[in-house]
Subunit: 336 residues, 4 copies
């Protein structure tokens, strides 16, 4: 279940402290110009160690292209991208290899599989998202050829909301960090240039596929499109977006719907938000159990993000791009 | 894109005013006892015409089993269920067949397909959800054999919140109806008895599959699991669920996570909520355009729900059941 | 596992003596003109009771369109087609409900599922192929819009080979019938008009998808494309098809490859053949066992085909059409 | 379309002269013991340069495990395996980069994608099969835990048939090689120990999935199960396998069916054969066209196999193993 997409399809692999993580993109059309640098640029946005507000784990996250691109253009064959794991300090984890960290997948993986890579969270590590970002770079390039751009922003940290990361939000993060704690937030993604008609009825709705893709990001606990939960409080007469004729084009007077109606894009900006819980790894002492069920205290050491929202921005953009790329291709064959 | 699920897989079909709607369930194990009455009971919960608060369209929604069940038990072959469309008043729609109803999929379907069944919303009608409920009845029965139960409730209407539908909520709905308007709300679904270990890493997370399934319900604009958007405002030390040993079993002291960690069930109750927008069909006059792009006023007549939340409850339960049934089967083959 | 196809995708359902059999086609583009008569015409080709050489079970096999077609054109939504089972004589099977018919799936279904519809073979009955033919009719219509036609023929019965069914073949069938026996044969399908470039590398090869689809037909035990098994005896210099320039078009001087190279169509006729075993249902006495493992003699009564090849022709055409329709759509998005 | 399987699912990638080829296995259960040596052993069987009868391209085909295996056992997460391309002599191909080799995919890839990696056949090279063999090694190990073994053999070269590769066959190959030519043949694969009940009705038949998988091997032009094309010449009374009671177990007295009835295994040996065309790369002069449509003579130099059957044996085994592993897992959830 490590695949996503119907036509533009990705399969990711890799454990946090294994040899490498990576992704295979199957279904990207031939002839798309893409350079290693374009992929690297996206990866660099996700990388830690860039400010006081992100983890100190400094990895180059150097992408290697193993296949699918020849003379600077895609071949129509699978594009395999890998990122070697280099700055892995497995020792950080050895002391807690038999302790289940609260909020982490340690316990559920052990229960499910009976065998677990305890080094750095293994497959459940957010490091896995680098592979998504690499694939997302290709999806973004494909979308760009269709005039679509995707921009993400942190729009809430703790109780502080705003159009993008501001000083107050930074303070909240700094305070959490100082206390060995972490804090949650909200990331918004806007896709511009999506024409009317992307998305498929019923179970392939654009909103539905976006929900799946975005909620699959580690720490995401909520998803909304357009006005989202705010809609619950509204009347139909307030919430419906009136259709208008703008210079010969059918548009909506407002965009409460976030660009998607009946699961299909309506030509307005696509606007979605995801709520991220505070990072589970905190150095503050917590109660937990070990593999034998003995209750223990735990303080998660290591290099962790006090607010995962910051690094989640390129990941949320990537997931949005992957879904849109898939629907872009599907939209080409919806009518005869 | 009218299919959902990997092993327990459904494909729905049907337009609102066509011959019939229906569903094919492929992948239900053989030997499950299920009667037509058990399916009908679920369908009856979804049916309109039952109170002043739902649409007056009174359909029997009589399910017919075409295949897959023999001598009261499933055969392991596809289960085809159909519901004939009977009480269809296509005339209600003829006057607006060239008008795009705001908030509805009329315009995007026309743009996408170039050819549209305008009678009652066609495929985009919420009537399509009856097929989901029928399939969900089979999923619920399968889950029951594994000790899992699923209960949904309306927990918010407009700004009024509560454990379930209360008098204040009913008043808000009645007021909207009286004004030819509609109102939004929130539905919560709780699944009890799910053991630890259901869900698959990365793109097959239980949370992620639930998000996709629930957001595919018409009018849903938001989804959250556990504390959802509330998590954004919390510190890690507040939000992490401490692991404890309860009589030899590993449990959590709280359930902020809503029963899912790292995409995998942890043995606690699974708790999710969806936000539904106010129904788009309102008799209040709105501005819109017709197929030629001419601006027009529209008042949507016909028999509509002033608050879709009420009838969304069995649908949300069904979608939850369908996802859980799929993961129940998958969980059986996760280790050697 | 009752689905086939990636974009043009079908899901069939139904037991031989249940309420109905049917198919849901998901992914057919909107706007395709198709009438009930066009589907019925294909079904009529498959029907029994038409000559001394096929089963006497005379069913109208009347198709009903439940969804997906409006005003004579496809909507882009799922097309559900059902055929009610009418002329079912379940009594014919009651005497052998505990006997496993040699060559039939009775025993393996019982072992696999523990619960079996013994009436007329249930899901394993060749009656299931009517649903494929109905779906194939839509695929054929879609292909016709792309200039592709598909023609099947019986080219071998017993040891008698020929371009199509001839008198000697008919004699062989008549003799088998007279002796309460059955005889095998070979069906060939030719698709004309397929342009260069359909088919996907590695696991989506046109040849590979055709093999899967054709071998899924009941009684098929062999599949070949182009010269097939004959290739095994050839030298490369004999078997390679030289590329030539025919009036500005690249063509091949011969067609040993059967129109597919590296899994992708090369613009020549696609030629495939399937070998069908003699029908398993024969009135001649055979040895078998019952559900308790007791050895018994069995003479399969009822209305059976002495040579299934004849009725397999439209089925083989349908399966070929379904695969080609899927690849036709996929081919539209292979390059940017 | 570079994926195969439903539960035990592989995705391969890589061009012949690119950085690497590889495979991601998704869905292998956790806890399976597997060592790098076990995978390498299978790869070594496929490698060229081992006798006068195979290509002189001597590659180590050294497998690297990037993920999914920890402390010698599978984690239940994706297993990524790569093989770097080392002994690539792209110069061999430069002279023919604008020439379409007869029998090869050069022309169809160019037509389909508009952009092609001409070095060594790119993605269409049989080198891609090394990734299948690596994945097949894991599948074989999983099957072994269920008591299933898979053995392949060359049973025909040119017109010479036999139980396995014999002196006469070697002579035929040597003669073809001496003449700058190639020769076709047949490979047989037998799977022992498969219990009754693997395979799924209609489109997931074991026979049908095997056909798809085996025909996807480069050069395969025919597939048969059990008596295959021979069945076409038989009467039902000759071809049906009588069911018998062997010491309390239901078995068949003969195995014309090749271990599969109605698409489901019946507990007998599974026996299949594939026909391979003579290798397309021959040094004998042939007629062809170049990218501009100009007719040219071509003599394909480089290091090629005079008979691909020899190296196809481990590939055919691998493909059989991959399909069986998938159905082994599926069979565990067929009844309640």
């Amino acid at each position: 279940m490590n695949s996503l997409g119907r036509i533009f399809k990705i399969t990711t692999f890799g454990e946090s402290h294994g040899e490498a993580i990576g992704v295979v993109i199957d279904g990207c059309p031939a002839g798309l110009k893409i350079s290693p640098e374009e992929i690297q640029t996206e990866l660099d946005k996700r990388r830690g160690g860039q400010s006081a507000m992100t983890t100190a784990r400094k990895e180059k996250d150097q992408v290697e292209i193993l296949s699918g691109i020849f003379e600077g253009r895609t071949l129509g064959t699978p594009i395999a991208l890998i990122i070697k794991n280099q700055n892995t300090r497995s020792r950080d984890y050895e002391s807690i290899k038999n302790l289940y960290r609260p909020g982490h997948a340690d316990y559920v993986y052990d229960a499910k599989y009976g065998h677990r890579d305890w080094r750095g969270g293994g497959r459940a590590s957010a490091r896995e998202t680098a592979a998504r970002v690499a694939a997302g770079a290709v999806a973004k390039k494909l979308l760009l050829s269709a005039g679509v751009e995707i921009i993400g922003n942190v729009v809430q940290v703790g109780n502080e909301k705003g159009g993008q990361l501001n000083e107050k939000m930074k303070e909240i993060i700094a305070r959490a960090k100082a206390e060995g704690d972490s804090v949650g937030g909200v990331v918004e993604v806007v896709a511009t240039g999506v024409p009317v008609g992307w998305g498929e009825p019923v179970f392939g709705k654009l909103s539905s596929d976006l929900a799946r893709a975005l909620v699959s990001i580690p720490a995401v606990k909520g998803f909304e499109i357009g006005d989202g939960f705010e809609c619950a409080t509204k009347l139909g007469s307030e919430n419906n977006d009136a259709l208008v004729n703008q210079g010969g084009q059918i548009k909506t007077a407002s965009n409460h719907a976030g660009g998607i109606v009946g699961g299909i894009s309506n030509g307005e900006n696509i606007v979605l938000r995801v709520a991220l819980k505070p990072a589970s790894s905190i150095s503050k002492e917590q109660t937990t159990v070990d593999r034998d069920g003995q209750e223990q205290n735990i303080s998660v050491q290591g290099r962790h993000d006090p607010c995962v929202c910051l690094r989640a921005v390129p990941v949320a953009e990537a997931m949005t791009a992957l879904v849109l790329a898939d629907h872009y291709l599907l939209s080409k064959i919806s009518k005869i």
